[in-house]
């Protein structure tokens, strides 16, 4: 799939850098919303390539990081029930809840299995008819349709022992909440490419229209990101607010209507709690009434411990872009990827983990 030669890449990168330096005549703060972008930015050393006027801050775009303790406490409570098998993506395992984590429960005998695809849960459910299989359905618009499709596949297969525990979240309402709060000044937004592959361009139009903030849908190669920063800086210099789509090769303007239709069939919008942000109206997904028998919370009673947050952890502020990981007194000392205190250090896409692994570059304090 490589369509660019090294020479072309080098020339384009030089062009983007030169133009960014020329156009950034005042300090601007650009937020990369998506955790996958955060990691790509650190890996490629993009921050160091930018002039001091251009600051990149990370936003609330790591689904594991924004999942609140209460959800983990609920998953832990289910995992302690007799005859329950929890299936989950690997990155949920070590996220600390109020007093335990799925990894800790697994070590003491809970049946918790890591799956690569939610569909894998169906094979597990079919092989264990006497047990209840609960899939931890976490993720943004990229992942939610895969969980929805799995519910439809479970229905088709006639499975009666498969459930989802939904903590799916939606990106545009979170952006609206951040911009409305105005806590962090954002001059431009780098929008998540793979979320956009599903939802397309339309759901982001309000950013420019209502908030006057330019935004670019972009991919994950260093050149994509540099190109997106260039487009933003160019818009800002011209005093324009508009939505650009740098990632057309993967994101058609209409997104993926088939995936959206599957999603809409199974899930409906619901208020959702975000770690560090609180409840955002219509920012999450709940299983629709017609599929309630697949909804763990509706179908399986559970008693959950009282939620406690970790004293000292500043994940909430990091997720809102108002604190940097280095501002947290626990960063790199009491909190490391090996012994994480907060979710932002657990997930490989978390901002704290990225700072720890790749260094903070010239933002190091």
């Amino acid at each position: 799939m490589k369509s660019r030669t090294r020479e072309e890449e080098r020339r384009l990168a030089a062009f983007f850098r030169g133009e960014i330096a020329r156009l950034a005549t005042r300090p601007v703060r650009l937020m990369e919303v998506c955790g996958t972008h955060t990691v790509a930015i650190f890996k490629a050393g993009i921050r160091q390539l930018l002039p001091p006027e251009v600051e990149l801050v990370s936003g609330p775009g790591c689904p594991v990081c924004v999942t609140p303790n209460e959800y983990l406490d609920t998953a832990v409570a289910y995992s302690r029930q007799q005859g329950v098998i929890i299936t989950t993506f690997g990155d949920m395992l070590r996220v600390p809840g109020s007093s335990s984590s799925l990894a800790a429960e697994q070590a003491t005998g809970a049946d918790i299995r890591i799956v690569y695809s939610p569909l894998d849960s169906l094979a597990i459910a079919a092989a264990n008819p006497a047990k209840k299989v609960i899939f931890l359905a976490v993720g943004f618009e990229t992942t939610a349709p895969t969980a929805a499709a799995t519910v439809l596949a479970a229905e088709q297969a006639g499975l009666t022992n498969f459930y989802v525990l939904s903590a799916h979240k939606l990106v545009p309402p979170a952006l609206r909440a951040l911009l409305t709060a105005g806590e962090v000044q954002v001059d431009g937004l780098l929008l998540p490419g793979h979320v956009s592959a599903i939802i397309g361009e339309e759901p982001y139009r309000f950013l420019a229209r209502e908030y006057g903030v330019p935004a670019v849908i972009t991919g994950f190669e260093p050149l994509d990101i540099l190109g997106a920063v260039y487009l933003l800086v160019k818009r800002i210099a011209a005093g324009e607010a508009a939505l650009d789509n740098e990632y057309r090769r993967v994101v058609p303007p209409a997104g993926n209507p088939a995936a959206v239709a599957v999603l809409d069939k199974v899930y409906g919008e619901a208020d959702a709690a975000w770690r560090g942000i609180g409840v955002i109206p219509a920012s999450g997904l709940a299983v629709k009434a017609a599929y309630r028998r697949f909804d763990a919370l509706a179908a399986l009673p559970v008693t959950v411990e009282e939620t406690k947050d970790h004293p000292g952890c500043r994940c909430g502020e990091v997720l809102r872009g108002v604190a940097r990981p280095a501002d947290c007194p626990l960063f790199g000392a009491a909190c490391t990827p090996e012994r994480p205190v907060g979710s932002c250090m657990v997930s490989v896409e978390g901002t704290c983990a990225a700072w720890y692994k790749y260094g903070a570059g010239r933002w190091q304090v």
Binding site: M1, F15, G139, F140, T142, T143, T146, H194, N256, A259
Partner: protein
């Protein structure tokens, strides 16, 4: 978690496709991309093809930027 990788569809039976990612083959569901065809590049996420990768569009973006770069030089 939202990362998806491009892969080439080498075979398709009903709603399941065999895709090739850097020499390794895998089975993925086409429930979210029912129109995908053998020979196309698609984006794979959590066991599902979620979008087609448009090579023509990739070239167009590149050409556009190349033109700008050439113009500036």
């Amino acid at each position: 978690m939202c990362l998806a990788v491009p892969a080439k569809i080498v075979d398709r039976i009903d709603m399941m496709a065999t895709v090739e990612v850097s020499g390794v083959t895998r089975q993925v569901s086409l429930m979210l991309l029912p129109g995908a065809k053998v020979g196309e590049y698609v984006l794979i996420h959590a066991g599902f093809a979620i979008q087609t990768v448009d090579e023509e569009e990739a070239k167009r973006t590149l050409e556009l930027f190349e033109e700008m770069a050439a113009h500036e030089e």
